[in-house]
Assembly symmetry: C2
Homo-oligomer: 331 residues x 2
Amino acid sequence: MDTPLAPGPEFDRIRALVRAASAIAPAAPGGGPGDDAAVVDVPPGERLVVSTDLSIEGVHFERAWLRWETIGYRAVTAALSDLAAMAARPLGVLLSIALPPELDTAVLESIAAGAGRSLAAAGAPLLGGDLSRSPGPVVLDAAVLGSAGRPVGRRGAVPGDEVWVTGELGGAALAVRDWQQSLEPDPRARRAFERPRARLEESRWLAEEVRPSALIDLSDGLAGDAAQLAAASGVRVDIDLDAVPLAAPLEEYSDRGAALRLALTGGEDYELLVTGAPGRLGTARRAFEDRHGVRLTRIGRVEEGRGVGWRRGGDAIALALAAFDHFAETE
Amino acid sequence: MDTPLAPGPEFDRIRALVRAASAIAPAAPGGGPGDDAAVVDVPPGERLVVSTDLSIEGVHFERAWLRWETIGYRAVTAALSDLAAMAARPLGVLLSIALPPELDTAVLESIAAGAGRSLAAAGAPLLGGDLSRSPGPVVLDAAVLGSAGRPVGRRGAVPGDEVWVTGELGGAALAVRDWQQSLEPDPRARRAFERPRARLEESRWLAEEVRPSALIDLSDGLAGDAAQLAAASGVRVDIDLDAVPLAAPLEEYSDRGAALRLALTGGEDYELLVTGAPGRLGTARRAFEDRHGVRLTRIGRVEEGRGVGWRRGGDAIALALAAFDHFAETE
């Protein structure tokens, strides 16, 4: 890739970053990083969809748990997942990286290679970014650009809609819990944390085939993100606890309550919560699963009211749950 | 502004941030932050221009020097300046903020108010962002979106072009040097550092009236940014040291060499370096200065070759200068 920058150690680092990412990701329009800003064309008739996502050492990840490549992969994937939540097609990513002085260019290249793998999976180029020294933690911030003819978002759920979820939940949270207890996670849980997929194709397929009323990605956990969808749509979301699909290692848990708690409150599954008029998702389920190799499960209903209601065996039950909250006292 | 988020301390903080910024900045299309991503329309016939800019405590600013409002203002202005460098019209900004736990919501609101003032000056809305705890420094990352029919950039300078600069240089660097020596800066230098303007209208006017061959904003200092323009265009940029316009407090310096060094190497003036065919900028200078209240000064010429050449009294001279470089050994 053509990166016409002047000499200097900062620019050497940018060149190394761009080389490492663009060895893997699609080429950027116009030759990639090198100007003050990147230039992108939004497809005619589509609207621009943008979001940004911070990944900070000590808050979102720990150096000891993951390879640098994985840290780069996850930071970009988490941001791309916000495009999936809007049923948008990715146009590209701007990646800002701040590194403490003790970490060298090899670390930067590993982060960039991971970012590149996530971009390649999404078919999106690295458009640019920023690079800085950090006096403390490693900081990544990925700003994602996408486009959609009809962005979906979380505001359109109406009473009577069904609530469905893609994939299985709680795998990433299980890995985190094991790391926090200095245990080596189940390899399937580790993989769920290390290699999540942004459900980009899945959400565009759903937008096209099902016309869902609302969509949200599960980045903070089902409990928290269902509450966001409920608040944004001005409805209550009722979820049947028996229907929630658990990640395979959680299915094997003897303590079903503990397993469910991880699946409901654990962040970073990056699956989709989707609502739609009765029957629409059920009719499309088989085609969805065949095409994407991802489960689609009905887990509840939208009702008049507010917040999230939990049901078991048809009865409403009370659950005290906290989603991941960066500022919660009880974190 | 309508921010339909669920209850919780993290979302209270986001609400406070959005309120503080949007009390000042233009309203976002579609009601502002609240979905997973923001939706924006790019004007028909224009291309999307995007960039991102990190501001990190201990690297880009010190808490002791500035109010939080100023830190927010400068972070957004620095990012918007990259749109000026492309002659793009701003569409909006995504702002990511990471704060250490000891800083409370009042700090966040001050940062947001400063960001809002910069956005208001640019006529651009806050589209969204991200918010996190930081285990160390305050981190801001502003991703800016703009559009341009004909983005300019730094690659088009050709031998024979004239080199011009807007405004006066070195004021911000003088303030930083004084703070580093525990001196209270000259109020004009302090103002240059605290309230830079992104030259957005100026650059669009130049793009329209002058059709410049290349543009770059002076974020790393004239010496460094001229070297970037030279590298990107594959030319040498010759600069006449006697012509470089100095910020007023530097004009009063007895040590002209020290003043010039600050003007050449000091970052964060956010003025524009612009190249154009002979005569074009000279013809437009009076109209530009009358309209924008900003000086436009011819400081050099584009030649065959590479790098930056320095001249004094018509003779080439050698200067050992280093632009601000986050990773330079000599920083």
